[in-house]
Symmetry: C2
Subunit: 313 residues, 2 copies
């Protein structure tokens, strides 16, 4: 069942001791350049460096002792891996994290640093899924999907819940879309707590599947995959597409040069570290300035886990 307001409220109470109520930053220069009044919800300052801590912790803390007994598992090359490792550590559960062998050593180390076991596989979706299946067969671990899971979605919704609680009504609330877990949570929180706000997503041109799925109502694949926004390459799931079609106003595309420029602008002007996927909604806003002119806009800054040795500028 699509999470209700009370389910999101319960998720918030559940995760509150384990995640940060992240700060919201504004920047006069960026407001001047964009023509909007923007409030950035800084999930790059969240535990594990990304909003994924919210959904991961809510999902793991929602499991029964029986479900937890044999540990949890997931596949992820990035922030969801760390989120599940972190969440499992909170409840003393074993975590088996399937990661592509090509994932950066620093990310594997981070997951191990939270006490999880990393199981490497070939860097394909098929290999990831079959390896998770093996883990489930061998250990009886409970799978936590990165986005197509209502507990994960309810957890991600708490970022927008906090934003509205702390800064009142918004005209527009923006988030990036990959698998759609954050976007679904954002749309639900806005729907319940600030129903006049339009929820708008940003998506890279080089992973433009959600914009197609949004129109057709079916889970579409991107025409091609080639973007620096490596957190946004996944397709929607059946749960996220339903919520997004119900409660999201629009999905706006943006190019990699625009994403890099938006990322750099935030680093230079706001002095905060954000990852490329995180810059996508702001890049989309800058491409479509007329849509947000004079409006009060909330943007979820999703994460700051970037490889400083491989910056695009």
């Amino acid at each position: 069942m699509i999470p209700t307001l009370s389910i999101i409220q319960a998720a918030h109470e559940r995760i509150r001791p384990h995640v940060h109520r992240t700060p919201v930053l504004t920047c006069q220069t960026i407001n001047r350049m964009s023509g909007a009044e923007i409030y950035f919800k800084c999930e790059n300052f969240q535990k594990i460096g990304a909003f994924k801590a919210r959904g991961g912790v809510n999902a793991v803390l929602s499991l029964s002792p029986t479900e937890l007994k044999n540990g949890v598992t997931t596949h992820s090359s990035g922030n969801h891996a760390q989120a599940i490792a972190y969440a499992a550590g909170l409840v003393g559960a074993k975590a088996y994290i399937v990661m592509p062998r090509t994932a950066p050593q620093v990310k594997k180390d981070a997951v191990r640093g939270y006490g999880a076991e990393v199981i490497e596989c070939e860097p394909t979706l098929e290999a990831r899924e079959s390896t998770v299946d093996e883990v489930i067969a061998k250990y009886g671990a409970t799978m936590i999907h990165p986005f197509n899971d209502y507990r994960v979605i309810a957890g991600q919704a708490t970022a927008t819940k906090e934003l509205i609680e702390d800064y009142g009504k918004f005209d527009t609330i923006m988030a990036p879309v990959g698998g759609g877990g954050l976007l679904s949570g954002t749309a639900l929180a806005a729907h319940y707590l600030c129903p006049t706000a339009e929820v708008i997503a940003g998506e890279p041109e080089g992973a433009a599947d959600a914009v197609l799925s949004f129109k057709s109502g079916r889970i579409e694949k991107a025409p091609y995959i080639n973007t620096i926004a490596d957190g946004l390459m996944t397709n929607l799931g059946d749960k996220t597409i339903e919520i997004i079609r119900l409660h999201v106003k629009d999905i706006l595309l943006t190019s990699d040069p625009e994403i890099i420029a938006a990322m750099r602008l935030i680093w230079e002007r706001m002095k905060i570290v954000i990852e490329p996927s995180c810059a996508v909604p702001f890049a989309a806003l800058l491409r479509n300035k007329e849509r947000s002119a004079g409006k009060k806009v909330g943007i979820i800054l999703t994460g700051g886990n970037v490889d400083l040795g491989k910056l695009p500028f």
Copy 2:
């Protein structure tokens, strides 16, 4: 006269409408790694991206209409330049900023962005001072020294005043030392508001003049100048050396590799952008962990104006 508490309080009231009360951040991972309980006062989020806004605004707003009539001038490789440009703009005065031609392009652009005129010179103290003298002779502008000025020192003191007001007593308060304006203000604020705190400075080995001056009581030059901490290459002035010898406990040296590692650690773990000079006190703390073990330490993070095209990692 060395600024009294009431002079620092008046400076704070004067600048309050024009500068940010900057946030203070903590990081569990960094506390674990350092063995201390560290509160980072984030002046990288300050107006113009550095603490220098405080001293610059206080100095310019303290000038008489006669002193302002022909504009203001200063020489600076970076942040003080922006601070005076910003402050002059607040009162509608002309600003002539002398900058070494080797200063980062992003800093020159920022100064022009505040409406000031940039006058480039050779990157030596002699060239900077003679060029300012020419500006004064030609325009009759009022010189605002970057650090050897009690109004500037009183302004810089307000960062530590806020830190103590917001987070109570500290065992240790740390700041970097270049010309000593911030360090003097830090030491005065601690002396008046938390006299039990030890004030300790960090200085790069590649610009190790203050540590010598601190011992000898005379303004010494560094044995050699070669450091990534480009904001800390200046020598002390007669006003700053007096305050520092009265109220600073120690000056600790740190190497460029240590500065870069400390900077990277703060970027990666705290997701904030700081400039190399800004990482110096934290690098010095990490080199001397035993000194701050178990202590409550405040560190002034001085600024975040870094050239993203020329990162050391």
